[in-house]
């Protein structure tokens, strides 16, 4: 449904007298299948939004190719526009009009006739549970309600693909769960959903497949499970009350420890088999007379994947 090859974009920014060229996106190759929720995970400034805006015809790529829903992005942006929906990060509604008015206008901007636009608006208001306040001004809506209007606008013309730029940023947990349901509903209706996020849990829970982006490049791509399997083995977190350096020195030389990191209040160890590693770790620490606070075993998270691929934690960046 979406295929890109070597998509590139750089911006010139001026700092004082110097002009610097910032390569926001440095060659993105992507494949998104029909009817899947595809996630774009990465820290702020990774180039997610720039990529999305290129695919949505809002900015022209410096290089590369893309085909979206069968239309060529470079040669026929007009046709791409007809086939996609796009929901920007910062919202898209005007304070002084109602959701219904926004929906009708937006449908009509796609060339849809007045009566049909009104019917579509009614349907969208119902689908997104907005009927109750459909005729109130947008400025009276809650953050979650207003975000639902944004999404409803993005799909009012039944696009094959919809791009959602951080649809849940700034929402409370309940509204976020609600938004996930809406996104899954779109998938069940056959819409391909391309969503960016910097929330690990969201990428994990919501997306069928995802790409991890960092510094303008895709560093990993696959289903959440595939990605996590790539980070071989298990992760053991050892909580120590002080004496972390000694323990680190002690455990770093052990053959079963693939990788060791110092984290706040203890150590994080990457091992092949958590079940066999833990007794050995305990013996080692106990034998050295170091006091152990906690020990925890967990399967790798997407953050571990990010850490492995970029050397940084997504939570920190």
């Amino acid at each position: 449904m979406i295929e890109t090859k070597g998509l590139r974009k750089s911006f010139r920014s001026r700092q004082g007298r110097e002009t610097k060229t910032v390569e926001a996106v440095r060659g993105v190759d992507l494949y998104v299948g029909e009817g899947e929720i595809f996630g774009f995970l990465g820290p702020n400034g990774a180039g997610k939004t720039t990529t999305l805006r290129m695919l949505a015809t809002l900015i022209e790529p410096d290089g590369g190719e893309a085909t979206i829903a069968g239309a060529d992005l470079r040669r026929d942006p007009g046709e791409v526009r007809r086939r996609i929906g796009y929901v920007a990060q910062g919202g898209s509604t005007w304070d002084e009009v109602s959701a219904r008015e926004e929906l009708v206008l937006h449908a009509r901007m796609y060339g849809i006739g007045k009566a049909d636009a009104q019917r579509r608006a009614v349907r969208a208001l119902e689908a997104f549970q907005l009927t109750e306040f459909a005729d109130r001004k947008c400025k009276t809506y809650s953050g979650g309600q207003r975000r639902r209007v944004d999404i409803a606008l993005g799909v009012i013309h039944d696009p094959k693909v919809v791009f959602l730029d951080e649809p849940t940023t700034g929402l409370d947990p309940q509204s976020r769960a609600h938004m996930w349901d809406e996104i899954r509903r779109l998938r069940s209706e056959g819409v391909t959903v391309f969503v960016t996020t910097h929330y690990l849990e969201e990428a994990d829970a919501l997306c069928d497949r995802l790409a991890i982006m960092d510094y303008g490049e895709i560093v990993a791509e696959g289903t959440p499970d595939e990605l996590k399997r790539e980070v071989a083995g298990d992760v053991v977190t050892v909580g120590l009350n002080g004496s972390t350096p000694e323990a680190a020195q002690l455990l770093d030389s052990e053959a079963y420890v693939n990788k060791l990191e110092t984290v706040e209040g203890g150590l994080r160890l990457y091992v092949d088999q958590g079940a066999t590693a833990i007794p050995q770790i305990l013996r080692k620490i106990d034998g050295a007379g170091i006091h152990l606070g906690t020990i925890e075993l967990h399967r790798p998270s997407l953050d571990d994947v990010f850490l492995e691929k970029t050397g940084r934690s997504l939570r920190e960046s």
Partner: protein
């Protein structure tokens, strides 16, 4: 056809917003209204006019040009607010005509302007203003050209600057000399009159005065329409290009 349909669509939406908050239409005529009430009475003596009515017949046609200028030059602020709300970006991902996004907004400004001009004209009648219907319509046509031109220019600049803080000083910096060099407040003399020959709005004021004096055949009328018409077409091209570029 798509251009006309889309322009009408944008115009309707923009007019809905104006009608929903018509207080701005009133605020727009406050300045000319103050001039009419507080500056007009001084003119009989200042101009050595035979009667107060004569002074108003000289003053009001220029006042309408001022209304057209100031009413349209600052519409870019509204566009910046729309940019910030994401409304423009939302329009850009649809196949709607880019030219229509601009024209629909300019037509809104012209419609508002004509209503305001009619209000000022009617309010000036008790002070002795007289005019024929045909002449006043021709004057309004000229005001409409000014409105389209300045509204398009203001929107194009707003797209470029994207910030009220940059647009406000620029617009004020341009508006004041254009006003003073137009002969709206006082008749121009000496070198100021020479400089004012390069101000298209000074020509508009002369034409407006000729029309309100019942002299549509005066050469200033066709000259002003030609100058303003040409400038309007040029500004529309420029603005349409910047809409097409930044609103690709």
């Amino acid at each position: 056809m798509k251009l006309l349909r889309d322009t009408w669509l944008i115009f309707q939406r923009q007019m809905l917003l104006v009608l929903r908050n018509p207080v701005w239409v009133v605020i727009g005529i406050l300045q000319p209204l103050y001039f009419l009430l507080l500056f007009g009475p001084l003119l009989k003596d200042a101009l050595n006019a035979p009667t107060t009515a004569d002074a108003y017949r000289f003053f009001v046609p220029g006042l309408l040009v001022m209304l057209a200028m100031f009413g349209s030059m600052f519409v870019g602020f509204g566009l910046i607010a729309e940019l910030r709300a994401g409304v423009i970006e939302r329009s850009r991902v649809t196949p709607v005509s880019r030219l229509a996004l601009m024209l629909g907004r300019s037509l809104r400004d012209v419609a508002t302007l004509i209503v305001q001009a009619a209000l000022i004209t009617v309010l000036a009648i008790p002070f002795g203003l007289t005019v024929r219907v045909g002449d006043v319509l021709l004057a309004y046509l000229m005001l409409g050209l000014i409105g389209v031109m300045l509204s398009a220019a203001s929107n194009a600049l707003a797209l470029k600057l994207r910030s009220e803080d940059a647009l406000a000083p620029l617009m004020n910096g341009v508006a004041q000399p254009l006003l003073l060099l137009s002969g709206i407040l006082l008749p121009l003399t000496g070198w100021v009159a020479t400089v004012a020959d390069f101000n298209p709005f000074s020509w508009a004021v002369d034409a407006s005065r000729a029309l309100f004096a019942g002299d549509p055949g005066d050469s200033s009328v066709w000259q002003a329409l030609l100058i303003l018409g040409t400038l309007t077409v040029l500004t529309l091209f420029w603005s349409a290009r910047s809409f097409a570029r930044s609103v690709r």
